[in-house]
């Protein structure tokens, strides 16, 4: 398997993503969910392997996340934004368990 270089993107409000810029990640500060939607679609077309998305935005972008769930790239990983965790990341794990097993077993 060929090894290619990919980008790591962080999408969220400016306050939450600015720290990642210092680490050398590609940050995409967005202000509303529409902008985030477009950014994610654009990043998915480019060579972006991991997209970190704040939960505050993810709450409104369920369809986009589901759309890329079954594809190899990008992996959309939810992180808590500055306002705190909404528990969407955790419930997403729960959902994938339910999907696989057909029942909630954990």
């Amino acid at each position: 398997m060929a090894v290619t270089t990919y980008k790591i993107a962080v999408v969220g409000d400016w306050q939450s993503v600015m720290g990642f810029k210092a680490l050398g990640l590609n940050t995409y500060p967005v202000t509303d969910s529409e902008e985030a939607r477009e950014t994610i679609h654009r990043l998915a077309k480019e060579d972006c392997a991991v997209i970190y998305l704040t939960e505050q935005l993810a709450a409104k972008l369920g369809d986009v996340i589901d759309r890329y769930k079954d594809e190899m790239t990008p992996a959309i990983i939810l992180i808590p934004g500055r306002e705190g965790s909404l528990g969407i990341g955790k419930s997403d794990i729960q959902r994938s368990i339910e999907r696989a097993v057909g029942a909630d077993i954990l």
């Binding site: 600015m18 990642f20 210092a22 392997a49 991991v50 079954d70 992996a75 999907r99």
Partner: protein, 230 residues
């Protein structure tokens, strides 16, 4: 019930028996695949859960540090300090195969080697809190990448398990019973044909015998009559 309109021929029976055998073997294999995938998946999910909890907690601490830092500095100065990163990260992705599911394996390389050399700003104009925050974020990032890898693996495996589960169920509850039903139907039909052929032959034999008997009787009677005349 579904494909009861099969041709009741021996040829079709052989074909269906072959099909049933294949279906049963496939069913067994898929079931094994599903069980093994499920085992791997549950291990991965447990790992994801603990790692996610850790990452979320640490990230909240980092956000806290950033909040403190931004309280001590103006937002313009903050933006300026973080505007041009010194560090750059390159991600390489290869794939690993877990029970025919391709899952990603990430590896990342940073441009600057030492961890202490990541601050993209001079220390004069910024607060010390910012250093702490950036430093902590650098540490969390390692875990975040690991999280990305296993969480994506879990998602991809969940999809594969769902697919496999559907296939197993389709084979177990639709394909195999239907084929068995069709085989039973053909066998019964063929047996019925055999029986009807046998009875027909017996009937024909009866009729032939009766005819022969009557002929014989007629001949015997004729001979008896001639003997009586003489």
């Amino acid at each position: 019930m579904a494909n009861i309109n099969v041709n009741p021929t021996r040829m079709e029976l052989t074909r269906l028996k072959g099909k049933l055998k294949t279906a049963q073997r496939g069913h067994k294999l898929l079931k094994d695949k599903r069980d093994e995938l499920m085992k791997q998946f549950l291990d991965t999910v447990r790992e994801v859960k603990t790692l996610r909890a850790e990452v979320e907690e640490e990230l909240m601490t980092v956000h806290g540090s950033f909040t403190v830092a931004s309280a001590l500095m103006s937002s313009e100065a903050m933006e300026q300090a973080l505007l041009y990163p010194k560090q750059s990260v390159e991600l390489t992705m290869s794939t690993k195969n877990i029970m025919s599911v391709n899952v990603p394996v990430y590896e990342f390389h940073t441009k600057t080697k030492s961890d202490s050399d990541i601050y993209p700003y001079g220390f004069a104009a910024t607060s010390g809190e910012l250093d702490t925050a950036v430093d902590a974020l650098g540490k969390v990032f390692q875990k975040m990448l690991k999280l990305a890898q296993i969480e994506k693996s879990a998602q991809l495996m969940a999809e594969e398990i769902e697919k496999t589960r559907r296939r197993v169920n389709a084979l177990e509850y639709v394909m195999i019973p239907n084929t068995q039903e069709a085989i039973r139907y053909i066998t019964m039909k063929l047996d019925e044909n055999d029986r009807s052929t046998t009875t027909r032959l017996m009937k024909v034999k009866d009729m032939l015998l009766k005819e022969a008997l009557e002929e014989q009787r007629a001949r015997d009677a004729a001979i008896a009559r001639r003997a009586a005349q003489n």
